[in-house]
Amino acid sequence: MRRDIVLRVIAKILIPFMLLFALYVQFHGDFGPGGGFQAGVIIAASIVFYAIIFGLPATRQLVPEWIVESMVASGVLIYAGVGLVGILLGGNYLDYFVLDHDPVHGEHRGIFWVEVGVAVTVSGVMLKIFYMFAGRRRDEDNG
Protein backbone atom coordinates (compact mmCIF):
# COMPACT_ATOMS: atom_id res chain seq x y z
CA MET A 1 0.00 0.00 0.00
CA ARG A 2 3.06 2.19 0.07
CA ARG A 3 2.42 3.33 -3.50
CA ASP A 4 -1.19 4.31 -3.04
CA ILE A 5 -1.05 8.10 -2.93
CA VAL A 6 -4.60 8.56 -1.63
CA LEU A 7 -4.05 6.32 1.36
CA ARG A 8 -0.72 7.91 2.16
CA VAL A 9 -2.04 11.43 2.08
CA ILE A 10 -5.16 10.58 4.05
CA ALA A 11 -3.11 8.73 6.63
CA LYS A 12 -0.75 11.66 7.09
CA ILE A 13 -3.68 13.99 7.57
CA LEU A 14 -5.59 11.67 9.91
CA ILE A 15 -2.86 10.52 12.26
CA PRO A 16 -2.34 13.91 13.97
CA PHE A 17 -6.04 14.11 14.63
CA MET A 18 -6.09 10.58 16.02
CA LEU A 19 -3.34 11.55 18.44
CA LEU A 20 -5.19 14.72 19.35
CA PHE A 21 -8.34 12.71 20.01
CA ALA A 22 -6.30 10.37 22.19
CA LEU A 23 -5.15 13.35 24.23
CA TYR A 24 -8.75 14.56 24.52
CA VAL A 25 -9.89 11.14 25.75
CA GLN A 26 -6.96 11.11 28.16
CA PHE A 27 -7.51 14.51 29.74
CA HIS A 28 -11.28 14.53 29.60
CA GLY A 29 -11.38 11.18 31.38
CA ASP A 30 -12.05 12.98 34.67
CA PHE A 31 -15.35 14.35 33.45
CA GLY A 32 -16.62 12.06 30.73
CA PRO A 33 -16.07 8.60 29.32
CA GLY A 34 -12.43 7.88 28.67
CA GLY A 35 -9.19 7.71 30.56
CA GLY A 36 -5.72 6.31 30.31
CA PHE A 37 -6.57 2.89 28.96
CA GLN A 38 -8.71 4.15 26.09
CA ALA A 39 -6.26 6.90 25.24
CA GLY A 40 -3.40 4.42 25.24
CA VAL A 41 -5.26 2.16 22.84
CA ILE A 42 -6.02 5.08 20.48
CA ILE A 43 -2.37 6.17 20.48
CA ALA A 44 -1.30 2.62 19.68
CA ALA A 45 -3.98 2.35 17.00
CA SER A 46 -2.68 5.44 15.24
CA ILE A 47 0.81 3.93 15.11
CA VAL A 48 -0.59 0.63 13.88
CA PHE A 49 -2.44 2.59 11.20
CA TYR A 50 0.86 4.17 10.18
CA ALA A 51 2.43 0.73 10.02
CA ILE A 52 -0.31 -0.63 7.79
CA ILE A 53 0.11 2.20 5.30
CA PHE A 54 3.86 2.81 5.39
CA GLY A 55 5.16 -0.63 6.35
CA LEU A 56 6.84 -2.08 9.38
CA PRO A 57 10.43 -0.88 8.75
CA ALA A 58 9.32 2.75 8.50
CA THR A 59 7.32 2.36 11.70
CA ARG A 60 10.25 0.80 13.50
CA GLN A 61 12.24 3.90 12.57
CA LEU A 62 9.49 6.18 13.82
CA VAL A 63 8.90 4.30 17.08
CA PRO A 64 11.91 2.06 17.79
CA GLU A 65 11.51 -1.13 19.84
CA TRP A 66 13.50 0.21 22.74
CA ILE A 67 11.14 3.13 23.14
CA VAL A 68 8.18 0.76 23.18
CA GLU A 69 9.82 -1.41 25.82
CA SER A 70 10.68 1.62 27.93
CA MET A 71 7.08 2.80 27.65
CA VAL A 72 5.81 -0.52 28.98
CA ALA A 73 8.05 -0.17 32.02
CA SER A 74 7.85 3.56 32.68
CA GLY A 75 4.06 3.64 32.84
CA VAL A 76 4.09 1.14 35.69
CA LEU A 77 6.84 3.16 37.31
CA ILE A 78 4.80 6.38 37.08
CA TYR A 79 1.78 4.67 38.63
CA ALA A 80 3.74 3.09 41.46
CA GLY A 81 5.70 6.33 41.87
CA VAL A 82 2.50 8.29 42.56
CA GLY A 83 1.89 5.87 45.41
CA LEU A 84 5.37 6.42 46.80
CA VAL A 85 4.98 10.21 46.60
CA GLY A 86 1.93 9.73 48.81
CA ILE A 87 4.17 8.13 51.43
CA LEU A 88 6.83 10.85 51.08
CA LEU A 89 4.23 13.58 51.63
CA GLY A 90 3.07 11.98 54.85
CA GLY A 91 0.10 9.88 53.78
CA ASN A 92 -0.30 6.18 53.14
CA TYR A 93 0.65 4.39 49.93
CA LEU A 94 -1.43 5.71 46.99
CA ASP A 95 -2.83 8.43 49.20
CA TYR A 96 -4.08 11.15 46.81
CA PHE A 97 -5.34 13.52 49.47
CA VAL A 98 -1.89 14.72 50.48
CA LEU A 99 -0.70 15.49 46.95
CA ASP A 100 -1.93 19.07 46.91
CA HIS A 101 -3.00 21.85 49.27
CA ASP A 102 -6.50 20.44 49.67
CA PRO A 103 -7.82 16.86 49.29
CA VAL A 104 -9.97 17.49 46.17
CA HIS A 105 -7.09 19.04 44.24
CA GLY A 106 -4.84 16.28 45.51
CA GLU A 107 -7.25 13.69 44.18
CA HIS A 108 -7.26 15.35 40.75
CA ARG A 109 -3.50 15.46 40.66
CA GLY A 110 -3.11 11.85 41.76
CA ILE A 111 -5.60 10.53 39.22
CA PHE A 112 -4.02 12.65 36.50
CA TRP A 113 -0.61 11.07 36.96
CA VAL A 114 -1.96 7.59 37.48
CA GLU A 115 -3.87 7.88 34.20
CA VAL A 116 -0.72 9.12 32.45
CA GLY A 117 1.02 5.99 33.67
CA VAL A 118 -1.83 3.80 32.43
CA ALA A 119 -1.83 5.46 28.99
CA VAL A 120 1.94 5.07 28.57
CA THR A 121 1.95 1.39 29.55
CA VAL A 122 -1.17 0.47 27.59
CA SER A 123 0.05 2.04 24.36
CA GLY A 124 3.46 0.45 24.91
CA VAL A 125 2.00 -3.00 25.46
CA MET A 126 -0.32 -2.69 22.45
CA LEU A 127 2.57 -1.71 20.20
CA LYS A 128 4.79 -4.43 21.62
CA ILE A 129 2.18 -7.06 20.85
CA PHE A 130 1.72 -5.61 17.37
CA TYR A 131 5.47 -5.62 16.70
CA MET A 132 5.80 -9.19 17.94
CA PHE A 133 3.05 -10.46 15.67
CA ALA A 134 3.94 -8.31 12.69
CA GLY A 135 7.61 -9.22 12.99
CA ARG A 136 6.98 -12.97 12.64
CA ARG A 137 7.66 -14.38 9.22
CA ARG A 138 5.53 -17.10 7.72
CA ASP A 139 8.27 -19.72 7.57
CA GLU A 140 8.76 -19.38 11.33
CA ASP A 141 5.18 -20.45 11.85
CA ASN A 142 5.76 -23.73 10.13
CA GLY A 143 9.11 -24.42 11.75
Binding site: S70, A73, S74, V76, L77, A80, L84
Partner: protein, 495 residues
Protein backbone atom coordinates in the same frame (compact mmCIF):
# COMPACT_ATOMS: atom_id res chain seq x y z
CA UNK B 1 12.53 6.92 60.09
CA UNK B 2 9.80 5.66 62.38
CA UNK B 3 7.41 7.10 59.81
CA UNK B 4 8.78 4.77 57.18
CA UNK B 5 8.37 1.81 59.51
CA UNK B 6 4.63 2.34 59.54
CA UNK B 7 4.59 1.76 55.79
CA UNK B 8 6.32 -1.63 55.89
CA UNK B 9 3.19 -3.53 54.77
CA UNK B 10 2.97 -1.41 51.61
CA UNK B 11 6.71 -1.41 50.98
CA UNK B 12 6.78 -5.20 51.25
CA UNK B 13 4.84 -5.34 48.00
CA UNK B 14 5.81 -2.05 46.35
CA UNK B 15 9.59 -2.47 46.37
CA UNK B 16 9.63 -5.61 44.20
CA UNK B 17 6.88 -4.04 42.10
CA UNK B 18 8.90 -0.95 41.16
CA UNK B 19 12.13 -2.87 40.69
CA UNK B 20 10.60 -4.86 37.82
CA UNK B 21 10.05 -1.84 35.51
CA UNK B 22 13.40 -0.38 36.62
CA UNK B 23 15.12 -3.55 35.42
CA UNK B 24 13.36 -3.32 32.07
CA UNK B 25 14.30 0.35 31.71
CA UNK B 26 18.00 -0.12 32.46
CA UNK B 27 18.36 -3.29 30.34
CA UNK B 28 21.66 -4.37 31.92
CA UNK B 29 22.09 -7.99 33.03
CA UNK B 30 24.38 -7.11 35.90
CA UNK B 31 22.10 -4.35 37.20
CA UNK B 32 19.07 -6.63 36.90
CA UNK B 33 20.71 -9.27 39.04
CA UNK B 34 22.03 -6.83 41.64
CA UNK B 35 18.69 -5.08 41.99
CA UNK B 36 16.86 -8.42 42.30
CA UNK B 37 19.22 -9.56 45.04
CA UNK B 38 18.95 -6.24 46.86
CA UNK B 39 15.17 -6.12 46.69
CA UNK B 40 14.74 -9.75 47.77
CA UNK B 41 17.00 -9.20 50.78
CA UNK B 42 15.17 -6.01 51.73
CA UNK B 43 11.90 -7.93 51.37
CA UNK B 44 13.21 -10.55 53.76
CA UNK B 45 14.20 -7.85 56.25
CA UNK B 46 10.74 -6.26 55.99
CA UNK B 47 9.02 -9.63 56.40
CA UNK B 48 11.05 -10.43 59.51
CA UNK B 49 10.35 -6.97 60.91
CA UNK B 50 6.62 -7.50 60.32
CA UNK B 51 6.77 -10.96 61.89
CA UNK B 52 8.43 -9.56 65.00
CA UNK B 53 6.04 -6.64 65.17
CA UNK B 54 2.98 -8.90 64.87
CA UNK B 55 4.39 -11.01 67.70
CA UNK B 56 4.67 -7.92 69.87
CA UNK B 57 1.62 -5.84 69.03
CA UNK B 58 -0.83 -8.17 67.31
CA UNK B 59 -2.54 -7.59 63.99
CA UNK B 60 -1.19 -4.80 61.77
CA UNK B 61 -3.71 -3.08 59.54
CA UNK B 62 -2.67 -0.74 56.74
CA UNK B 63 -5.17 1.25 54.68
CA UNK B 64 -4.05 1.69 51.07
CA UNK B 65 -4.72 5.23 49.91
CA UNK B 66 -5.92 6.07 53.44
CA UNK B 67 -9.38 4.68 52.67
CA UNK B 68 -10.62 3.06 55.88
CA UNK B 69 -10.78 -0.78 55.77
CA UNK B 70 -14.18 -2.15 54.84
CA UNK B 71 -14.34 0.30 51.88
CA UNK B 72 -10.74 0.61 50.81
CA UNK B 73 -8.13 -2.09 50.34
CA UNK B 74 -6.64 -3.16 53.61
CA UNK B 75 -3.29 -4.86 54.08
CA UNK B 76 -3.61 -6.99 57.15
CA UNK B 77 -0.73 -8.85 58.74
CA UNK B 78 -1.42 -11.44 61.42
CA UNK B 79 0.40 -14.48 62.81
CA UNK B 80 -0.44 -16.63 59.78
CA UNK B 81 0.49 -14.43 56.87
CA UNK B 82 3.52 -12.92 58.62
CA UNK B 83 4.82 -16.49 58.72
CA UNK B 84 4.12 -17.06 55.02
CA UNK B 85 5.71 -13.69 54.14
CA UNK B 86 8.91 -14.78 55.86
CA UNK B 87 8.90 -18.07 53.93
CA UNK B 88 8.35 -16.46 50.52
CA UNK B 89 10.90 -13.70 50.95
CA UNK B 90 13.41 -16.07 52.53
CA UNK B 91 13.31 -18.37 49.53
CA UNK B 92 13.52 -15.37 47.17
CA UNK B 93 16.53 -14.05 49.10
CA UNK B 94 18.32 -17.37 48.62
CA UNK B 95 17.29 -18.00 45.02
CA UNK B 96 18.10 -14.51 43.70
CA UNK B 97 21.87 -14.55 44.39
CA UNK B 98 22.03 -18.19 43.27
CA UNK B 99 20.45 -17.27 39.95
CA UNK B 100 23.29 -15.33 38.31
CA UNK B 101 25.40 -18.22 37.02
CA UNK B 102 22.48 -20.58 36.58
CA UNK B 103 20.51 -18.10 34.48
CA UNK B 104 23.56 -17.07 32.46
CA UNK B 105 24.03 -20.72 31.51
CA UNK B 106 20.40 -21.50 30.74
CA UNK B 107 19.12 -18.38 28.98
CA UNK B 108 20.20 -16.33 25.97
CA UNK B 109 21.98 -13.23 27.21
CA UNK B 110 19.40 -10.76 25.89
CA UNK B 111 16.62 -12.47 27.87
CA UNK B 112 18.33 -12.52 31.25
CA UNK B 113 17.15 -9.13 32.49
CA UNK B 114 13.61 -9.96 31.43
CA UNK B 115 13.66 -13.09 33.57
CA UNK B 116 14.79 -11.05 36.56
CA UNK B 117 12.01 -8.53 35.90
CA UNK B 118 9.52 -11.42 35.84
CA UNK B 119 11.02 -12.81 39.02
CA UNK B 120 10.44 -9.47 40.77
CA UNK B 121 6.86 -9.35 39.50
CA UNK B 122 6.26 -12.90 40.66
CA UNK B 123 7.64 -12.01 44.07
CA UNK B 124 5.33 -8.97 44.13
CA UNK B 125 2.35 -11.16 43.33
CA UNK B 126 3.11 -13.82 45.92
CA UNK B 127 3.82 -11.30 48.68
CA UNK B 128 0.71 -9.36 47.67
CA UNK B 129 -1.58 -12.40 47.83
CA UNK B 130 -0.24 -13.11 51.27
CA UNK B 131 -0.38 -9.67 52.79
CA UNK B 132 -3.65 -8.29 51.47
CA UNK B 133 -6.87 -8.39 53.43
CA UNK B 134 -9.11 -7.98 50.41
CA UNK B 135 -10.33 -10.95 48.39
CA UNK B 136 -10.38 -9.15 45.06
CA UNK B 137 -6.90 -7.83 45.66
CA UNK B 138 -5.89 -11.45 46.18
CA UNK B 139 -7.16 -12.15 42.66
CA UNK B 140 -5.19 -9.23 41.19
CA UNK B 141 -1.97 -10.42 42.78
CA UNK B 142 -2.79 -14.01 41.84
CA UNK B 143 -2.87 -12.88 38.22
CA UNK B 144 0.39 -10.92 38.57
CA UNK B 145 2.19 -13.91 40.02
CA UNK B 146 0.60 -16.39 37.59
CA UNK B 147 1.29 -14.40 34.44
CA UNK B 148 4.90 -13.82 35.40
CA UNK B 149 5.19 -17.51 36.27
CA UNK B 150 3.96 -18.56 32.82
CA UNK B 151 6.61 -16.37 31.22
CA UNK B 152 9.35 -17.70 33.47
CA UNK B 153 8.42 -21.32 32.72
CA UNK B 154 8.29 -20.61 28.98
CA UNK B 155 11.87 -19.28 29.16
CA UNK B 156 13.10 -22.82 29.87
CA UNK B 157 15.79 -24.20 27.56
CA UNK B 158 13.84 -26.93 25.85
CA UNK B 159 10.98 -26.29 23.46
CA UNK B 160 8.71 -28.38 25.64
CA UNK B 161 8.87 -25.53 28.14
CA UNK B 162 6.46 -23.64 25.89
CA UNK B 163 3.95 -26.48 26.01
CA UNK B 164 4.37 -26.77 29.77
CA UNK B 165 3.81 -23.04 30.20
CA UNK B 166 0.75 -23.14 27.97
CA UNK B 167 -0.66 -26.09 29.87
CA UNK B 168 -0.18 -24.23 33.13
CA UNK B 169 -1.66 -21.10 31.58
CA UNK B 170 -4.87 -22.95 30.68
CA UNK B 171 -5.18 -24.62 34.07
CA UNK B 172 -4.15 -21.51 35.98
CA UNK B 173 -6.63 -19.34 34.11
CA UNK B 174 -9.45 -21.77 34.87
CA UNK B 175 -8.38 -21.69 38.50
CA UNK B 176 -8.31 -17.90 38.64
CA UNK B 177 -11.68 -17.67 36.86
CA UNK B 178 -13.29 -20.06 39.31
CA UNK B 179 -11.85 -18.03 42.14
CA UNK B 180 -13.36 -14.82 40.77
CA UNK B 181 -16.74 -16.48 40.28
CA UNK B 182 -16.54 -17.58 43.89
CA UNK B 183 -15.76 -14.16 45.28
CA UNK B 184 -18.37 -12.65 42.96
CA UNK B 185 -21.00 -14.80 44.64
CA UNK B 186 -19.70 -13.85 48.05
CA UNK B 187 -19.84 -10.18 47.09
CA UNK B 188 -23.39 -10.68 45.88
CA UNK B 189 -24.43 -12.07 49.23
CA UNK B 190 -22.56 -9.69 51.52
CA UNK B 191 -21.65 -6.58 49.55
CA UNK B 192 -18.09 -6.60 50.82
CA UNK B 193 -14.69 -7.83 49.69
CA UNK B 194 -12.76 -7.26 52.89
CA UNK B 195 -11.84 -10.59 54.48
CA UNK B 196 -12.55 -9.61 58.07
CA UNK B 197 -15.80 -7.93 57.05
CA UNK B 198 -16.82 -10.94 54.94
CA UNK B 199 -16.35 -13.28 57.88
CA UNK B 200 -18.47 -10.95 59.99
CA UNK B 201 -21.33 -10.65 57.52
CA UNK B 202 -21.45 -14.26 56.37
CA UNK B 203 -22.70 -15.16 59.81
CA UNK B 204 -25.98 -13.40 59.11
CA UNK B 205 -26.51 -14.77 55.61
CA UNK B 206 -29.53 -17.08 55.60
CA UNK B 207 -29.55 -18.13 51.95
CA UNK B 208 -27.02 -20.94 51.88
CA UNK B 209 -27.05 -22.03 48.23
CA UNK B 210 -24.99 -19.17 46.70
CA UNK B 211 -22.48 -19.60 49.49
CA UNK B 212 -22.26 -23.28 48.72
CA UNK B 213 -21.55 -22.46 45.07
CA UNK B 214 -18.96 -19.85 46.07
CA UNK B 215 -17.36 -22.36 48.38
CA UNK B 216 -17.15 -24.98 45.65
CA UNK B 217 -15.78 -22.57 43.04
CA UNK B 218 -13.13 -21.22 45.39
CA UNK B 219 -12.09 -24.70 46.54
CA UNK B 220 -11.65 -25.97 42.98
CA UNK B 221 -10.05 -22.74 41.76
CA UNK B 222 -7.47 -22.60 44.52
CA UNK B 223 -7.13 -26.39 44.34
CA UNK B 224 -5.90 -25.97 40.77
CA UNK B 225 -3.33 -23.38 41.80
CA UNK B 226 -2.01 -25.42 44.70
CA UNK B 227 -1.97 -28.69 42.69
CA UNK B 228 -4.39 -30.61 44.88
CA UNK B 229 -4.23 -34.23 43.79
CA UNK B 230 -6.45 -34.72 40.75
CA UNK B 231 -5.84 -31.10 39.69
CA UNK B 232 -2.04 -31.36 39.68
CA UNK B 233 -1.56 -32.20 35.99
CA UNK B 234 0.17 -28.94 35.13
CA UNK B 235 2.78 -29.22 37.86
CA UNK B 236 5.21 -31.97 36.76
CA UNK B 237 5.74 -30.49 33.30
CA UNK B 238 6.01 -26.95 34.57
CA UNK B 239 8.60 -27.89 37.17
CA UNK B 240 10.54 -30.14 34.80
CA UNK B 241 10.98 -27.68 31.94
CA UNK B 242 11.29 -24.35 33.75
CA UNK B 243 14.78 -22.89 34.31
CA UNK B 244 16.37 -24.34 37.47
CA UNK B 245 16.07 -21.27 39.66
CA UNK B 246 12.45 -20.80 38.61
CA UNK B 247 11.59 -24.36 39.58
CA UNK B 248 13.25 -23.90 42.95
CA UNK B 249 11.43 -20.63 43.59
CA UNK B 250 8.01 -21.87 42.46
CA UNK B 251 8.13 -25.19 44.25
CA UNK B 252 9.05 -23.45 47.48
CA UNK B 253 6.58 -20.56 47.29
CA UNK B 254 3.81 -20.57 44.68
CA UNK B 255 1.86 -23.62 45.82
CA UNK B 256 2.46 -22.65 49.44
CA UNK B 257 0.88 -19.24 48.96
CA UNK B 258 -2.15 -20.93 47.37
CA UNK B 259 -2.44 -23.15 50.43
CA UNK B 260 -2.41 -20.00 52.50
CA UNK B 261 -5.35 -18.63 50.49
CA UNK B 262 -7.25 -21.87 51.04
CA UNK B 263 -6.59 -21.72 54.77
CA UNK B 264 -7.79 -18.12 54.84
CA UNK B 265 -11.04 -18.97 53.12
CA UNK B 266 -11.75 -22.14 55.04
CA UNK B 267 -11.04 -20.86 58.48
CA UNK B 268 -11.27 -17.08 58.45
CA UNK B 269 -13.96 -16.40 55.84
CA UNK B 270 -16.19 -19.48 55.86
CA UNK B 271 -15.28 -20.78 59.27
CA UNK B 272 -17.46 -18.28 61.05
CA UNK B 273 -20.59 -19.15 59.08
CA UNK B 274 -22.70 -22.22 59.52
CA UNK B 275 -21.53 -23.46 56.16
CA UNK B 276 -18.48 -25.49 57.14
CA UNK B 277 -20.32 -27.92 59.36
CA UNK B 278 -22.62 -30.47 57.80
CA UNK B 279 -20.60 -30.55 54.58
CA UNK B 280 -18.34 -33.48 53.69
CA UNK B 281 -15.47 -31.09 52.79
CA UNK B 282 -13.11 -32.56 55.35
CA UNK B 283 -13.79 -36.11 54.17
CA UNK B 284 -13.35 -35.21 50.50
CA UNK B 285 -10.14 -33.34 51.23
CA UNK B 286 -8.94 -36.25 53.34
CA UNK B 287 -9.62 -38.77 50.58
CA UNK B 288 -7.93 -36.61 47.92
CA UNK B 289 -4.92 -36.02 50.16
CA UNK B 290 -4.48 -39.70 50.90
CA UNK B 291 -4.82 -40.52 47.20
CA UNK B 292 -2.32 -37.80 46.35
CA UNK B 293 0.20 -38.87 48.98
CA UNK B 294 0.26 -42.45 47.76
CA UNK B 295 -0.28 -42.08 44.01
CA UNK B 296 2.09 -39.20 43.36
CA UNK B 297 4.82 -40.87 45.42
CA UNK B 298 4.36 -44.09 43.46
CA UNK B 299 4.51 -42.22 40.15
CA UNK B 300 7.65 -40.45 41.36
CA UNK B 301 9.40 -43.78 41.87
CA UNK B 302 9.08 -44.60 38.18
CA UNK B 303 10.37 -41.35 36.69
CA UNK B 304 13.56 -41.29 34.64
CA UNK B 305 14.26 -37.61 35.12
CA UNK B 306 15.53 -36.33 38.45
CA UNK B 307 13.65 -33.03 38.22
CA UNK B 308 10.43 -34.75 37.20
CA UNK B 309 10.74 -37.25 40.01
CA UNK B 310 10.95 -34.49 42.59
CA UNK B 311 8.12 -32.64 40.87
CA UNK B 312 5.84 -35.62 41.52
CA UNK B 313 7.22 -35.75 45.02
CA UNK B 314 6.00 -32.14 45.40
CA UNK B 315 2.47 -33.24 44.56
CA UNK B 316 2.59 -35.85 47.31
CA UNK B 317 4.14 -33.41 49.77
CA UNK B 318 1.40 -30.87 49.07
CA UNK B 319 -1.05 -33.66 49.88
CA UNK B 320 0.49 -33.84 53.38
CA UNK B 321 -0.33 -30.16 53.78
CA UNK B 322 -3.94 -30.58 52.66
CA UNK B 323 -4.18 -33.67 54.86
CA UNK B 324 -3.43 -31.50 57.87
CA UNK B 325 -6.09 -29.02 56.77
CA UNK B 326 -8.68 -31.79 56.40
CA UNK B 327 -8.04 -32.98 59.95
CA UNK B 328 -8.86 -29.42 61.07
CA UNK B 329 -7.59 -29.77 64.61
CA UNK B 330 -4.77 -27.81 66.16
CA UNK B 331 -2.06 -30.41 65.58
CA UNK B 332 -3.22 -30.92 61.99
CA UNK B 333 -3.19 -27.22 61.14
CA UNK B 334 0.17 -26.81 62.86
CA UNK B 335 1.50 -29.64 60.72
CA UNK B 336 0.12 -28.01 57.56
CA UNK B 337 1.51 -24.60 58.32
CA UNK B 338 4.88 -25.85 59.47
CA UNK B 339 5.09 -28.02 56.37
CA UNK B 340 4.70 -24.92 54.22
CA UNK B 341 8.05 -23.86 55.59
CA UNK B 342 9.66 -27.29 55.92
CA UNK B 343 8.73 -28.49 52.48
CA UNK B 344 9.44 -25.09 50.94
CA UNK B 345 12.97 -25.10 52.26
CA UNK B 346 13.62 -28.76 51.55
CA UNK B 347 12.27 -28.75 48.02
CA UNK B 348 13.92 -25.40 47.32
CA UNK B 349 17.25 -26.93 48.34
CA UNK B 350 16.66 -29.97 46.14
CA UNK B 351 15.84 -27.98 43.02
CA UNK B 352 18.73 -25.57 43.60
CA UNK B 353 21.12 -28.53 43.85
CA UNK B 354 19.60 -30.07 40.73
CA UNK B 355 20.26 -26.73 39.04
CA UNK B 356 23.95 -27.28 39.79
CA UNK B 357 23.81 -30.73 38.22
CA UNK B 358 21.97 -29.34 35.20
CA UNK B 359 24.74 -26.77 34.78
CA UNK B 360 27.47 -29.42 34.81
CA UNK B 361 25.79 -32.33 33.04
CA UNK B 362 23.25 -30.60 30.80
CA UNK B 363 20.46 -33.10 31.37
CA UNK B 364 19.30 -34.57 34.65
CA UNK B 365 17.98 -37.95 33.52
CA UNK B 366 19.09 -40.88 35.63
CA UNK B 367 21.09 -42.68 32.96
CA UNK B 368 23.38 -39.65 32.65
CA UNK B 369 23.90 -39.23 36.38
CA UNK B 370 25.68 -42.46 37.14
CA UNK B 371 28.47 -42.01 39.63
CA UNK B 372 27.58 -38.36 40.18
CA UNK B 373 28.33 -38.90 43.88
CA UNK B 374 32.05 -39.02 43.12
CA UNK B 375 32.12 -36.16 40.70
CA UNK B 376 29.88 -33.77 42.63
CA UNK B 377 30.17 -34.98 46.24
CA UNK B 378 28.75 -31.89 47.95
CA UNK B 379 25.78 -31.60 45.61
CA UNK B 380 24.94 -35.28 45.92
CA UNK B 381 25.32 -35.26 49.68
CA UNK B 382 23.04 -32.23 49.91
CA UNK B 383 20.45 -34.01 47.79
CA UNK B 384 20.60 -37.05 50.05
CA UNK B 385 20.12 -34.93 53.19
CA UNK B 386 17.18 -33.08 51.64
CA UNK B 387 15.82 -36.43 50.51
CA UNK B 388 15.95 -37.65 54.10
CA UNK B 389 13.96 -34.58 55.06
CA UNK B 390 11.36 -35.45 52.41
CA UNK B 391 11.10 -38.93 53.88
CA UNK B 392 10.87 -37.53 57.40
CA UNK B 393 13.86 -39.08 59.14
CA UNK B 394 14.19 -37.82 62.75
CA UNK B 395 16.56 -34.85 62.93
CA UNK B 396 15.27 -33.31 59.71
CA UNK B 397 12.54 -30.75 59.14
CA UNK B 398 10.32 -33.32 57.44
CA UNK B 399 10.14 -35.36 60.63
CA UNK B 400 8.62 -32.47 62.56
CA UNK B 401 5.74 -32.27 60.10
CA UNK B 402 5.12 -36.00 60.07
CA UNK B 403 5.16 -36.03 63.85
CA UNK B 404 2.42 -33.42 64.09
CA UNK B 405 0.43 -35.11 61.34
CA UNK B 406 0.54 -38.42 63.20
CA UNK B 407 -0.46 -36.70 66.44
CA UNK B 408 -3.35 -35.03 64.61
CA UNK B 409 -4.47 -38.34 63.10
CA UNK B 410 -4.38 -40.07 66.49
CA UNK B 411 -6.33 -37.17 68.00
CA UNK B 412 -9.06 -37.88 65.49
CA UNK B 413 -8.81 -41.60 66.16
CA UNK B 414 -7.75 -42.37 62.59
CA UNK B 415 -5.22 -45.13 63.26
CA UNK B 416 -5.34 -46.31 59.66
CA UNK B 417 -4.19 -42.84 58.61
CA UNK B 418 -1.03 -43.25 60.68
CA UNK B 419 -0.29 -46.37 58.67
CA UNK B 420 -0.88 -44.47 55.41
CA UNK B 421 1.45 -41.65 56.46
CA UNK B 422 4.18 -44.13 57.35
CA UNK B 423 3.49 -46.09 54.17
CA UNK B 424 3.80 -43.08 51.88
CA UNK B 425 7.03 -42.14 53.66
CA UNK B 426 8.32 -45.58 52.78
CA UNK B 427 7.53 -44.90 49.12
CA UNK B 428 9.53 -41.69 49.50
CA UNK B 429 12.42 -43.87 50.70
CA UNK B 430 12.11 -45.76 47.44
CA UNK B 431 12.47 -42.74 45.20
CA UNK B 432 15.20 -41.11 47.23
CA UNK B 433 17.00 -44.46 47.17
CA UNK B 434 16.88 -44.42 43.39
CA UNK B 435 19.02 -41.31 43.43
CA UNK B 436 21.39 -42.82 46.00
CA UNK B 437 21.74 -45.93 43.88
CA UNK B 438 22.49 -44.00 40.71
CA UNK B 439 24.77 -41.47 42.39
CA UNK B 440 26.82 -43.67 44.68
CA UNK B 441 26.40 -47.30 43.72
CA UNK B 442 26.80 -47.25 39.95
CA UNK B 443 29.97 -46.92 37.98
CA UNK B 444 30.58 -43.42 36.58
CA UNK B 445 29.48 -42.99 33.02
CA UNK B 446 32.56 -43.28 30.81
CA UNK B 447 31.08 -41.38 27.91
CA UNK B 448 30.41 -38.21 29.84
CA UNK B 449 33.37 -35.97 30.50
CA UNK B 450 34.66 -35.80 34.03
CA UNK B 451 33.31 -32.58 35.43
CA UNK B 452 33.68 -30.93 38.80
CA UNK B 453 31.46 -29.53 41.49
CA UNK B 454 28.93 -26.74 40.84
CA UNK B 455 30.19 -23.14 41.21
CA UNK B 456 30.63 -22.00 44.80
CA UNK B 457 27.90 -19.35 44.73
CA UNK B 458 25.28 -21.82 43.52
CA UNK B 459 26.39 -24.58 45.85
CA UNK B 460 26.66 -22.20 48.80
CA UNK B 461 23.15 -20.82 48.54
CA UNK B 462 21.69 -24.27 47.92
CA UNK B 463 23.41 -25.45 51.07
CA UNK B 464 21.90 -22.59 53.04
CA UNK B 465 18.55 -24.26 52.45
CA UNK B 466 19.93 -27.76 53.06
CA UNK B 467 21.21 -26.61 56.43
CA UNK B 468 17.87 -24.90 56.99
CA UNK B 469 16.10 -28.22 56.49
CA UNK B 470 18.35 -29.72 59.15
CA UNK B 471 18.13 -26.73 61.47
CA UNK B 472 14.34 -26.74 61.53
CA UNK B 473 14.52 -30.41 62.45
CA UNK B 474 16.30 -29.52 65.69
CA UNK B 475 15.25 -26.02 66.65
CA UNK B 476 11.53 -25.66 66.06
CA UNK B 477 10.99 -22.50 68.10
CA UNK B 478 10.44 -20.39 64.97
CA UNK B 479 8.89 -22.96 62.66
CA UNK B 480 6.53 -24.78 64.99
CA UNK B 481 6.14 -21.81 67.34
CA UNK B 482 4.95 -19.57 64.52
CA UNK B 483 2.80 -22.30 63.02
CA UNK B 484 1.11 -23.12 66.29
CA UNK B 485 0.26 -19.48 66.87
CA UNK B 486 -1.18 -19.27 63.35
CA UNK B 487 -3.17 -22.48 63.85
CA UNK B 488 -4.59 -21.16 67.12
CA UNK B 489 -5.55 -17.95 65.33
CA UNK B 490 -7.35 -19.85 62.56
CA UNK B 491 -9.21 -22.15 64.91
CA UNK B 492 -10.04 -19.31 67.27
CA UNK B 493 -11.62 -17.40 64.41
CA UNK B 494 -13.48 -20.49 63.25
CA UNK B 495 -15.43 -21.81 66.16
Amino acid sequence: MSGLLDHLPALQVVLPLISAPLIVLVRRQRFAWLLTVAVSWISLAIAIALFVKVGQTGVISYAIGSWPPPWGIEYRVDALNAYVLVLVSLVAAVVAPYARISIAAELPREQEYLLFAMFCLCLTGLLGITITGDVFNVFVFLEISSLSTYVMIALGQRRKALVAAYQYLVMGTIGATFYVIGIGLLYLMTGTLNIADLAERLRDVKEIRPLLAAYAFITVGIGLKLALFPLHQWLPNAYTFAPSMVTAFLSATATKVSVYVLLRFYFTVFGASILFEGLPTADVLLALSVAGMVTASLVAVFQDDLKRMFAYSSVSQIAYITLGISLANEAGLTASIVHLLNHGITKGAIFLLIGGIALRCGVVSFDRLRGIGQRMPLTSFGLVISGLSLIGIPGTAGFVTKWYLVVAAIDRGYWWLVAVIVGSSLIAVAYVWRFVEVAYLSEPDERSVKRGEAPASMLGFAWVLVIGSLYFGFDTSFSVGGAREAAALLLGGAR
